[in-house]
Symmetry: D2
Amino acid sequence: MSGKIRAGIVGGTGYTGVELLRLAALHPRLEVRAITSRAEAGLRVDRLFPNLRGHCELAFQAPEDAGLEDCEVVFFATPHAVALASAPRLLAAGVRVIDLSADFRLRDVAVWEKWYAHPHGAPELAAQAVYGLPEVNRAAIASARLVAVPGCYPTAVQLGFLPLLEAGLVDSSRLIASAASGVSGAGRQAKVDNLLTEVHDSLKAYGVAGHRHLPEIEQGLQQLSATPVQLTFVPHLAPMIRGIHATLFATLNDCTVDLQALFEARYRNEPAVDVLPAGEHPQTRSVRGTNLCRLAVHRPVDRDTVVVLSVIDNLVKGAAGQALQNFNIMFGLPEQTGLDAPALLP
Amino acid sequence: MSGKIRAGIVGGTGYTGVELLRLAALHPRLEVRAITSRAEAGLRVDRLFPNLRGHCELAFQAPEDAGLEDCEVVFFATPHAVALASAPRLLAAGVRVIDLSADFRLRDVAVWEKWYAHPHGAPELAAQAVYGLPEVNRAAIASARLVAVPGCYPTAVQLGFLPLLEAGLVDSSRLIASAASGVSGAGRQAKVDNLLTEVHDSLKAYGVAGHRHLPEIEQGLQQLSATPVQLTFVPHLAPMIRGIHATLFATLNDCTVDLQALFEARYRNEPAVDVLPAGEHPQTRSVRGTNLCRLAVHRPVDRDTVVVLSVIDNLVKGAAGQALQNFNIMFGLPEQTGLDAPALLP
Amino acid sequence: MSGKIRAGIVGGTGYTGVELLRLAALHPRLEVRAITSRAEAGLRVDRLFPNLRGHCELAFQAPEDAGLEDCEVVFFATPHAVALASAPRLLAAGVRVIDLSADFRLRDVAVWEKWYAHPHGAPELAAQAVYGLPEVNRAAIASARLVAVPGCYPTAVQLGFLPLLEAGLVDSSRLIASAASGVSGAGRQAKVDNLLTEVHDSLKAYGVAGHRHLPEIEQGLQQLSATPVQLTFVPHLAPMIRGIHATLFATLNDCTVDLQALFEARYRNEPAVDVLPAGEHPQTRSVRGTNLCRLAVHRPVDRDTVVVLSVIDNLVKGAAGQALQNFNIMFGLPEQTGLDAPALLP
Amino acid sequence: MSGKIRAGIVGGTGYTGVELLRLAALHPRLEVRAITSRAEAGLRVDRLFPNLRGHCELAFQAPEDAGLEDCEVVFFATPHAVALASAPRLLAAGVRVIDLSADFRLRDVAVWEKWYAHPHGAPELAAQAVYGLPEVNRAAIASARLVAVPGCYPTAVQLGFLPLLEAGLVDSSRLIASAASGVSGAGRQAKVDNLLTEVHDSLKAYGVAGHRHLPEIEQGLQQLSATPVQLTFVPHLAPMIRGIHATLFATLNDCTVDLQALFEARYRNEPAVDVLPAGEHPQTRSVRGTNLCRLAVHRPVDRDTVVVLSVIDNLVKGAAGQALQNFNIMFGLPEQTGLDAPALLP
């Protein structure tokens, strides 16, 4: 085993930040040297996140004091428009950047500006950035300087539709995704809407008119498809902490294909995707805390509709774990290094 | 106010049974005279269900001791194939029957026998039974001797698609319903799968290959539609006690129609259906404990797809409350009598 | 039945506000004329609380526009120090005031100022105010102009210790209360600590060094006891929406007393207190949404310790319901008017 | 690193069984060769527990087919009275036994027989068995042939009172423990009482008259105390999957002692006990999935009462993790080998 790779984390007070630190504690080659938060500068990280007691001696630092330029890699676990402003300087200093925010996910900067209501200002970086979905872009990730880690819904939805679109088996112009997320997807922000009292023991859809993840998903699906893609996407908020469950519907062009065999073949060598045996239904808890996407593919009786069920942990395969999977690829490590603990069940 | 109407309940140890008793306690004209359970005969009801202390003096009785023939109405809150066996005798005695089970919901007895793996034996009753969805069959319910109360998913899904199908606005051959139910939908049975430890903080689909509610839903939707109906239906189990959230997708034939106006007009006079203002998203908690279906209709930007969101409390509008709504209609009472308390929120 | 009693609510955007409105919808004699919120002035109440659609036509108003002086009674559902400032003017105008906040609960204004870090300024009102625990102060409540509705923990703890202290059966100097509250007890405020992601599927104690409810509880218990009272009180936050469960410990002076008989006798005629049969354990869900305190009294084998289990719904018997119970007493109505619906279970 | 240690698990279909397998997957020296279940013989373990897909190739076997005698160590994750019957033969074959059940926890076999309503039959083994609480019996564990892993409540309660009793600082005859457990403590059994619908969003005490863990706790506490111990113990069921929170009360003999320093000194070198900084309150989620007991010690203002807050994960430090901690000690490995992953938070 060689030495540790020096890493920094920008924006460490949210759930993707603490999850990066939890996973870093399990990683044999990653050494987090600094974690930044302007608001909490000076506070020990384990006072905010007691699960890290004994695992992390760091205190939050203001970004300018954190020596990020001396890191080999910096993770951005920030709201949008932060990486946009800070990544260029780090990249110029030779630091590789893994951005968990949405800043570099969309190639079309005008679309980004519309959904995020903010000038982008770094279109050349958006063009250079590699979209960090290893199941699609593994080779490009290996040599990337700047990786845009996919969003949580986009990860679950793309991995579910991928084998069908690559094989040209479905009507790509009428895709439907009905997906539900745990509340951690909304981040660690003081909002009445996400109080336990507001969301516990209840279920709701939101953003039906349009959701920021839609253009990202369509961009990714289009890359997989020879025909034009259009998706109707309805996200829901489920009364749970972690987990995304995506239920995907498409019309089959050809009902004779062995869908189970197709999915198993496509994902046989993917360390982060697990196709369940025929007839099973994945539970989000079966991936809790893990960097896995578990999939099942069904064809309801007498219908030409295929239904794909796709589950991930939104904070792991949907954020911090996928970031580390990208890190492993970028630094030539086995892809699931530090990411192979089983899910906590029950 | 006139006198009380004498009622019996067969099968009172499940969740629809206790919910009938809770709602009966609020009903000025309904007097539950007897409640049966062979297994619990002799036990006071309020020992099993402490919320009924002070509201119900009854003890469970064996069915043969309960004097059901002396009731004006008997509710069956039983597993399938019980009402099938017992209803004929009561009907013959002049008792009106409101069956919350699935026994008389399907007109095609062969289909019922396939899904419930049990000989039906009373096809003439299945033909006579009125399907108790007041928003469709109000007049027939008023004079019915035997009412089959719709299932929970079927209620939420039918009320959501109803205005679209009646108006012939969508492609009825490609309907999609992605719906989630709280765990009480699975009943009060000792099953590992429904332990808190198995379903809490997690989400899963189930029965994708086929679910018993599908033929009931398609039968109901077909009745509303001039063109052939086919539905893909995926139910999910959500980590909550009560509530169904149905997310419905259909392709519009005509994108110029004012869907909000259509829904508002169709349901303006329906006491148990509430169409939300444009742009809102119903939460299941907003109908917790109530006999309401809350609906929202959306058309995602730039798509010819309509999305309807439909929520009910599976134990109320999806079972016991709808049973009482039918009772009110059958006995000439205002339709929401005893059913008008606001939801418990938070 | 006579006419409606005109009421106003100050501070209607919190959970006690919406709960007052929910219960008011069930009350045959209470008419809420106005509900105030400076921040939300102009917004219809049912946009904020969709469970009230169809039950409440009001919009929030600024306090000065609400015509509160024309009401017969005004409820304060406000943070502390609001009623303090506004009640005097209303009282002077002949309006009776029912304050759900802590402003007038403590007779010793200096103690209040210490715990609430705010000058009181109305010590004469604190002296006049009647502490609205009907099981202790029913007669005084009937003629009160100003009622201080007890806090949630204080209600559960006082009703549990009451029979023991009145009878002088326990060592009053070593009382212990270990109690847990649902998250709604923390109010409808945007705080990270109360996000679902922070409190779901977890349990913690808080405020062990000292909690604002402690002096209120000790003041109330002292009133019941001939000997000096000292209580150790540890509150906990439980991952649920509603409910308080208090587990009370005291050392018996006399182990021969029939504790079950004592509790049953004391509470036989109390409409809002229900003593469970010997050996049972109350669940918070058995009082969900109701104005009941359910109690059980136990003596663990071979110990001289008595254990009392006391559950309430913190928003009902611990706040809005008890406020209406006081209202009923003040206006000569049967005490549980509008408060007698069974709990929602499951 | 040396070779793997061959292990068997008897009774693998419960939650302690799956948790042993999850933790074994993280352990570099433990190789589970066989896992038994008569009911599920032939079924792959990862069909029952999908979190183990990719981590466990085993299928359940009938005990007689499992080759347990060829293991170096066998874990019993069984209901009571199973290890009692099977351990003697394995011990005779030279296999070391780590029993997670209650069979060998009580030295006084008569007490065991009273609480478990079963003849014990192996009193000499009960006498030989080492009580596997490493913080007390580390040396004896190292050489033990048969270890009785402490129960979940007993672990949390003993570690909380330990420093106080060892130092003789409290009145040992009036100890009080009010503790709450997640539902996984009740095991993976089909029981109506533990359905999500029965326990979600609610809290209750149980077993106040007497609980099986009481004699175990008192036996353990007595070993630490020079004066006679008597404990009043009230367990509660909390609406969560994992976690025990114990709130402990005792009367101080001496109020001048620095309790924080005492606790920190006692546990400074204990790898599985973490004393929080003064004034903090542990959350059960901070130990979710970990082999840690987190403690806080408080003295409420102006009282001679000490309050200790103690949290563990009932399935880890309260069962499978503590079993592995014992295993590590027995086989000369660093004590937290395979047990040092941070808790999953949020």
